[in-house]
Assembly symmetry: C2
Homo-oligomer: 189 residues x 2
């Protein structure tokens, strides 16, 4: 997706520890026009029947909600940690965060995803793929069908994308970065 790659080159900053800072437009300040372009592109890449979009708080929510307009389906976001005012009937999965070097629990109410659902997972970043694996675990518990995984930026030099593709999952990343340092960002063709 050319518009997105141009934006990453213009506004992205590479920081120590393989961090790509894109908070000018993606995950702190949200460029809603760009989100609409992303939503349309995701719909074009997943033309199949989809009944629910699943994402994870916090930075996946805005993209998933804007994209949800093009799919005309509800968006469910997995919550991080146990919430005191939440229903007891929850799907639960454990996700390892490399950024913070700890495990956290994600939960989705059993009311909102079931065996009749055909689900598209959407998230802003894919690196080691641990968050997506947690969401797949929840879909498995729900007996729901996975249609695919739509990602805005994949860090292609980490192995999350490779592992998902090896499992036969239809993973569509709108920008895949194969190499980055302070001088350059190299996208996969």
């Amino acid at each position: 997706m050319r518009l997105l790659k141009e934006r990453i080159l213009r506004d992205g900053e590479v920081r120590q520890g393989n961090v790509l800072k894109v908070d000018k437009f993606l995950n702190h300040q949200c460029d809603i026009r760009l989100f609409n372009e992303i939503g349309q592109e995701l719909r074009a890449r997943f033309p199949q029947e989809i009944t629910k979009i699943l994402t994870i708080e916090a930075s996946g929510i805005g993209i998933a909600c804007i994209a949800g307009q093009y799919f005309d389906v509800p968006v469910v976001f997995a919550k991080k940690g146990r919430h005191s005012n939440q229903d007891e009937h929850l799907y639960r999965a454990t996700v390892h965060s490399y950024t913070y070097n700890k495990d956290y629990e994600i939960t989705v109410s059993q009311e909102f995803i079931g065996s009749q659902d055909r689900v598209l997972i959407i998230d802003d970043f894919l690196a080691n793929g641990k968050a997506v694996e947690g969401l797949l675990d929840i879909l498995c518990q729900a007996g729901a069908a996975l249609v695919g995984v739509g990602i805005v930026i994949e860090k292609g030099f980490q192995d999350g994308g490779k592992k998902l593709r090896e499992r036969g999952i239809d993973l569509q990343s709108l920008a895949i970065i194969d190499k980055m340092d302070e001088k350059q960002i190299v996208f996969r063709e």
Copy 2:
């Protein structure tokens, strides 16, 4: 906003501890069509010039992003807690959570809100108003102008809304609940 009130009556559940559970359509599963109606209504109530929308993670993000389309401005969401890959130049405020009975820090990068901005705050709920007060504190630090505060559901029996209105703030809540228990939900006229 009639459509919203009907939806609260149909799908909302009152739980112990003044909890109104609306996760079927607002803050766990997101009804994107309803979010669009909410976005349009907020634009109608705030026709003034606005340059940024400010919200807080997590459940404010989806509503703010959908609403952002009608204002055609970027959406900035305050982050809860300090994030390791975030810039050092942050506005910080402390928010007290009555739900969890603890204080937490919210942060916004100084890059994204400045003295030239005219800001609309959007959030899903207003009860004691502590989250909004934290966001107001950040706008004050930024020297930005507050245009108003747009809320989806205000718990009118708690004092957050009253305090904001007494300060002369243009607070627009799309549904104000004056009384609720397991048998009924009473909206303010």
